[in-house]
């Protein structure tokens, strides 16, 4: 088991190195740091960015919006998804809503949100609306994958609903919950930053990226992008660790038969 995790990190490292090499080659070919700064330039800009006054308050402002939007979308997505997955009429009623929210383009939501909400709330609202249908659909489909034999078992043994939720439904839904979590979180970051560029609240990563764009500071733009990518990687890693813990019981299967 340990051996395979070592090699997988090694492969990942090779993948990253290849990406950086391609980037470096690209920047040397273009020769114009306005269009494509080199990895070194971007890292240098990142160093400057991190040390500017107000960096943490911008980071925190965006992170807080992500937290709010994501939690709202996850909580409501879980509730609506569970309802939709277990009660057929509810599923039929909600599926057009989910489909509509999934297809409405980001720009329509943002433009409306800017009219309705103060600039700091716009990103939260848009992130919530875009991540919610993903979570809800995921959970709803997950409900369908709960082993019906075990559902019958629960019914026959008259297991009380709270025990059924913690004993049967949540563990069954685990893979879906984890996948929905990582998708919704990733989406929330992307959407919050993009919405910030449009609604321009006074503090936030989107605003800083927009300034970098307006003042043609492409290295700074890349620096912020690298920061967001790094945040994404950390979240993925944390999630991976959680997932490994949650699925410990599967290990038995590995050495049986």
């Amino acid at each position: 088991m340990r051996r395979s995790t070592l090699t997988s990190s090694a492969y990942a490292a090779v993948g990253v190195a290849a990406l950086v090499a391609i980037w470096q080659a690209g920047s040397m070919l273009t020769g114009n740091s306005l269009l494509l700064p080199s990895p070194a330039e971007a890292l240098k800009a990142l160093g400057t960015v991190v040390r500017t006054r107000g960096f943490f308050s911008d980071l925190w402002a965006s992170a807080l919006r992500v937290l709010k939007g994501f939690s709202l979308s996850y909580a409501l997505g879980l509730a609506f998804g569970a309802a939709s997955g277990s009660v057929r009429p509810v599923r039929y009623m909600l599926s057009p809503l989910f489909a509509a929210l999934r297809t409405v383009p980001f720009i329509s939501l943002s433009v409306l949100a800017i009219i309705w909400f103060p600039s700091g709330t716009v990103p939260v609202f848009v992130a919530f609306l875009m991540a919610f249908p993903i979570v809800a659909s995921d959970v709803s489909e997950g409900m369908a994958s709960v082993d019906p034999l075990l559902v019958e078992l629960t019914k026959v043994y008259k297991v009380p609903w709270h025990k059924a939720v913690t004993g049967l439904y949540l563990p069954s839904l685990m893979p879906h919950l984890v996948s929905a979590f990582s998708q919704a979180l990733g989406m929330s970051w992307k959407i919050v930053v993009s919405a910030e560029v449009l609604s321009m609240p006074s503090k936030g990563i989107g605003g800083r990226m927009d300034s970098a764009r307006s003042f043609l500071e492409t290295p700074e733009l890349f620096a912020w992008t690298l920061l967001l990518v790094a945040l994404g990687f950390t979240a993925d890693a944390a999630l991976g660790a959680l997932r490994a813990r949650a699925f410990r019981w599967r290990e038995g299967r590995l050495w049986r038969m």
């Binding site: 019958e152 078992l153 043994y157 019981w249």
Partner: protein, 244 residues
């Protein structure tokens, strides 16, 4: 407690009848087997009895306020819980304790922290059995519960089970296609028709009720008698004396 009875019971799926015209009495405190060929009918009967399906025709008379516990054909264990966890899921602490005790009686002592995926099919089924047996419900329904248990193990296990059930005086409905199960477990039995239309019986086997520990010869004799009976009623079993 009164007997559990079914009168003129019938059920179809998609217009195709699974069984019909079933009149059976499951005597209080006894093990009644329903013997028939493999097919959906017998499982459906169990499902109707415990309320997972509704019959199309006929009545099920269950004594007031009495519930059923079920031994399903498959072990139906929650894979992410240990054996003990599984038992606690279906019952309270007391029931779980009883079930563990039954389990060690079935040869599975010290298994409470094992996960289902690390158990063999037969071991899992024994957990399934212990779980149902430990339930406080007065009626026990068993749906072909010994399919994954080999003949040798059956000869050892089933008498133990019979003892345990007898001591609790549960009303047991055992549905099976194996004459060996009937010989080892049942006080009386019905023979379902191959097409599901009705059943013959009740019949009893002429062996004592106590113990039911049969040696190989006795078991062989009982199965032989059963098969002759089935053949005589045209129940799809060949007369064993004609098999050479």
């Amino acid at each position: 407690m009164e007997d559990v009875t079914v009168r003129n019971l019938g059920k179809s799926f998609d217009g195709k009848p699974v069984f019909s015209n079933l009149d059976m009495t499951f005597v209080n405190g006894e093990v009644t087997a329903v013997l028939g060929p493999s097919g959906r009918g017998k499982t459906t009967l169990i499902r109707v009895l415990c309320g997972l399906e509704r019959q199309d025709v006929g009545d099920v008379a269950m004594p007031e306020g009495i519930g059923c516990s079920v031994v399903f054909q498959e072990p139906r264990l929650l894979p992410w819980l240990t054996v003990e966890g599984n038992l606690r899921y279906c019952m309270d602490g007391e029931g779980a304790g009883r079930a563990l005790e039954i389990l060690s009686g079935l040869g599975l002592d010290g298994f409470k922290d094992r996960y289902p995926t690390s158990l063999s099919g037969g071991e899992q089924q024994r957990v399934n059995l212990a779980r149902a047996l430990a339930s406080p419900e007065r009626v026990l329904l068993m749906d072909e519960p010994f399919n994954s248990i080999g003949l040798g193990m059956k000869a050892e296990l089933l008498p133990l089970l019979r003892e345990r059930i007898a001591s609790e005086r549960k009303t047991v409905v055992l549905v099976t296609h194996s004459p060996v199960d009937v010989a080892l477990m049942a006080d009386r039995f019905y023979l379902m028709n191959d097409d599901g239309k009705g059943a013959d019986g009740p019949f009893t086997l002429e062996i004592g009720k106590a113990g039911r520990k049969l040696d190989d010869d006795e078991l062989g004799q009982q199965v032989h008698k059963l098969m002759k009976l089935m053949a005589s009623l045209g129940k799809g079993a060949r007369d064993p004396d004609e098999l050479k």
